[in-house]
């Protein structure tokens, strides 16, 4: 197992080849104003689970996505690579490749932090 210091920092090429995948446990529904509401189960640490149930703490969290955030989420299907998403955003909004890359990475990070997607990286290349 690699230590924290030995972790491989992905290159641009590796970032772009990665494929985001939706969290299958996220349940989507459309809102009146054409946004998407997503509900994902809340996962408490093992030691807190029974207390959370006993105290009636919420068991799921929900997010609303609209505009570009929603459009990016809609295109996450496990087949589109990050590069495909970057090209789409650049075309759609008249951006340069790297303007779109930075924005897509920001949106994907936001979706990841909320537990809505994961990013499947291709196996890192030999860096030696």
């Amino acid at each position: 197992m690699r230590s924290k210091h030995e972790q491989h920092e992905p290159t641009f090429a590796e970032q772009l080849e990665a494929r985001p995948i939706k969290n299958e446990r996220a349940v989507a529904s459309r809102t009146e104003d054409d946004a998407v509401r997503l509900r994902v189960p809340l996962v408490y640490p093992v030691w807190l689970r029974s207390a959370a149930r006993a105290l009636g703490l919420r068991q799921e969290k929900s997010f609303e996505l609209e505009g570009v955030g929603r459009a990016v989420y809609d295109r996450v299907d496990g087949k589109n690579s990050v590069e495909n998403l970057v090209d789409w955003l650049a075309r759609e909004h008249g951006l340069s490749f790297h303007e779109a890359r930075v924005l897509i990475m920001k949106y994907l990070q936001m979706l990841m932090e909320r537990g809505l997607i994961v990013i499947a990286a291709n196996a890192p290349r030999d860096v030696n």
Partner: protein, 294 residues
Amino acid sequence: LEPDAPHLERIRPLSLHTFSFTLPRGWEVTAYLLDESDGQLQLYERKHFRGQLVWRKTPKPPDELRIMNEIQRRHLEKELPERAKRFGELSVRKVGDFSFGYSLEGEPCQASLYQPKTSTLVQWVFPELGDDALATIEPLLLSYRPNEQELRRWEMFGVRLALPSALAFTEMAPLPANVAVTFESKHHLTVVARRLGMVEETLRTITMAQLHRALLRQGGARIVSSEERQIRGCTGVYTTYEKRGERRLEQLAGRYWKGEAFLWLEKDERRIYGLEQVGPQRAKRLDLLDAFQA
């Protein structure tokens, strides 16, 4: 995308402290250090590293060939140790004003130029020598122009200005598709140039006037007036504002400086441009729209 789409053409001119270039199509700055005395840019074309531009103030004219040979030797020692043992020195020829140093195909090549007027060494390092690479590198080097005049060009990330040299670059905030470049004179006149993308998304929920007020307030401004008007033939907003003085006694006196700002929408390019200036009363103002380079 069309390679010569207006928004992509717009990011090709590159003018910083003392030099100007026209970047090859598709090349973009992905990392930068913009200090006047020691800076560098990293350039990529999509996921491919294409070159590094480095500049450095040196009090005396440097031995450019020695520096290029040393860079090459260190690269080879790291990447191709066997080849490093056989490396002698680079061949050098002139490409425009640059000395172009090269060795074997597939190895890095370099270009170097010393600007005596500003005591600045400007160097390019390209990752790979080859016919295709040369077809791109040579026009890039030939596009060089010094930028040492009284009226200085500033062109980066699509922001293009011509400003008196008394206004020095102070900082750049490149948020995704949202660039703001700030300049300041020694009399504390501050000029900010903006270029915003994702226009449809940005204006989905607010008007141009609201956006302008929000941008200015983010920088600590107090809005005085705002009116819609045509700016450079485009839909735009003109806003006057005040900002608390930030220098010496001004801070203690709590005096407010007067500012003016333009924001307009270039529909063909799908970009919003903005120009602002604020400073003490005695600081001479610019004709802001004249500073903007189409």
